[in-house]
């Protein structure tokens, strides 16, 4: 079990800066993020894009800002659990919290700060009859172990890069791959689209265009998918697996079940200290909402500073907090 003062869910710029503000008040932090690196959207989505509204930087590349934040928080020695998704949050009898990840990592902390940005990215699910029923029983939203599909009949749905790439890869592994696409062209990488067309021409895969998977069937495990074409005619295909690959959509995920007040996929907070309706849990950055909320990095930084002042009373209930400027006192490395 990892033990710390503040468990920060989300290692984007706001979560990272929260380490700094907490560190000034001698509070230790541990960051958890489902992405394999710190930086959130900045590193994952637009590392090379310039940002123009960080005070003091007329322009700064997103990744450079993340690198600077890493340097800035280094004296406070934050812990990191990266590439793991937070699943559970439980209040302990002594008033502390235990955060649990999908990999079984446990982090015990006195304060929880949710800095989860857009939330976690979950597979976008198509509208298919009995889809949920066959999840884990033939329906998958990602390919993890290609060998699991050896000698099986697979139906892949989607028109993006991942649908094309997995169709090509699994064509050599599976007994038969059927690719179903609602359009009649592919915008993915030209090489991949051409390769898929070639596999279809030579009969190695089946390509079903202008069609949608509409229903699943089977006794216990998936056995058959029903595909509807543009002319409204149904065809039934024998299938052991159905893999819809329709990209990812940001969702709040498990956070939704923690008893927090939520408005339109954002956590409601008190702007006094960015606390949620649950004592000891704060929410800062893009994931929170309040009247006048702006989803800006600089607002997340501000929220982190106020959160830390308030979180202090949970971490050091017997101490009085006196505000100090870094220009007067500098920063003190945490032990």
């Amino acid at each position: 079990m990892i033990t710390t003062d503040i468990g920060i869910i989300g290692a984007g710029p706001t979560g990272m800066f929260a380490v700094f503000e907490a560190g000034l008040l001698k509070m230790h932090c541990h960051l958890i993020d489902s992405l394999p690196q710190a930086g959130g959207q900045l590193s994952e989505i637009y590392p090379q894009k310039p940002i123009y509204d960080i005070p003091g930087y007329p322009a700064i590349n997103a990744q450079q800002l993340v690198d600077n934040l890493s340097e800035q928080i280094a004296p406070f020695h934050p812990g990191f659990t990266l590439g793991e998704r937070v699943e559970t949050l439980e209040k302990q009898q002594d008033g502390t919290w235990t955060i649990g990840t999908n990999e079984g990592t446990l982090i015990n902390c006195k304060v929880v700060v949710i800095a989860g940005g857009l939330g976690c990215f979950e597979p976008r699910k198509p509208e298919v009859d009995r889809l949920a029923e066959f999840e884990g029983k033939g329906v998958l939203y990602a390919v993890r172990n290609p060998e699991a599909f050896r000698d099986r009949n697979i139906v892949i749905a989607g028109g993006g890069d991942s649908a094309l790439d997995w169709t090509i890869f699994l064509a050599n592994v599976a007994k038969k791959v059927t690719l179903v696409h609602r359009g009649d062209t592919f915008r993915g990488a030209p090489d991949a689209a051409e390769k898929v067309a070639e596999l279809a021409r030579t009969g190695i895969i089946d390509l079903v265009l202008k069609s949608r998977v509409v229903a699943l069937d089977g006794a216990g495990h998936l056995e058959q998918v029903t595909i509807t074409g543009q002319n409204g005619q149904d065809q039934h295909i024998q299938a052991d697996n159905f893999i819809p690959l329709f990209g990812l959509s940001p969702k709040l995920g498990p956070i939704e079940n923690w008893g927090l007040k939520i408005d339109k996929s954002a956590i409601e907070v008190n702007t006094f200290d960015y606390s949620t309706n649950v004592e000891g849990i704060y929410a800062i950055g893009d994931i929170n909402t309040y009247p006048g909320k702006l989803k800006l990095i600089l607002c997340g930084f501000h929220e982190a500073a106020l959160m830390a002042q308030s979180a202090f009373k949970h971490v050091y209930p017997d101490q009085r907090l006196t505000f100090k400027y870094t220009t007067v006192y500098g920063i003190t490395e945490l032990a």
Binding site: L118, P126, G160, R182, G183, R187, S249, P250, D286
Partner: protein, 105 residues
Amino acid sequence: MITFNVKDRDGKQTAIEVPEGISLNLMEVLKGSGYDILATCGGMALCATCRVQVKTGAEQLPPPGDAELDILDTLPSIEDNTRLSCQLRVNESLEGCHFTIPPED
């Protein structure tokens, strides 16, 4: 003034007037006008929660760019002339268009 029509999820149609020369996209105007649009990603063409159907005037709009086409491609089922409102600049090209807000995901 630029005027276009918006039909919400309950089927209520409203004409929206926006001054020319404002630097906003359609998603921002729709949100600002009180429409229930998530726009989780804030306009980066990532989440597709701001998508609208263009019922009239699709041909007068600038064609979708790569980022928009990529995300539209990944959606399981969409109507013809579906666009991401965050990728549509509010300018004369919207004049007279009819937009419908589709049901939530």
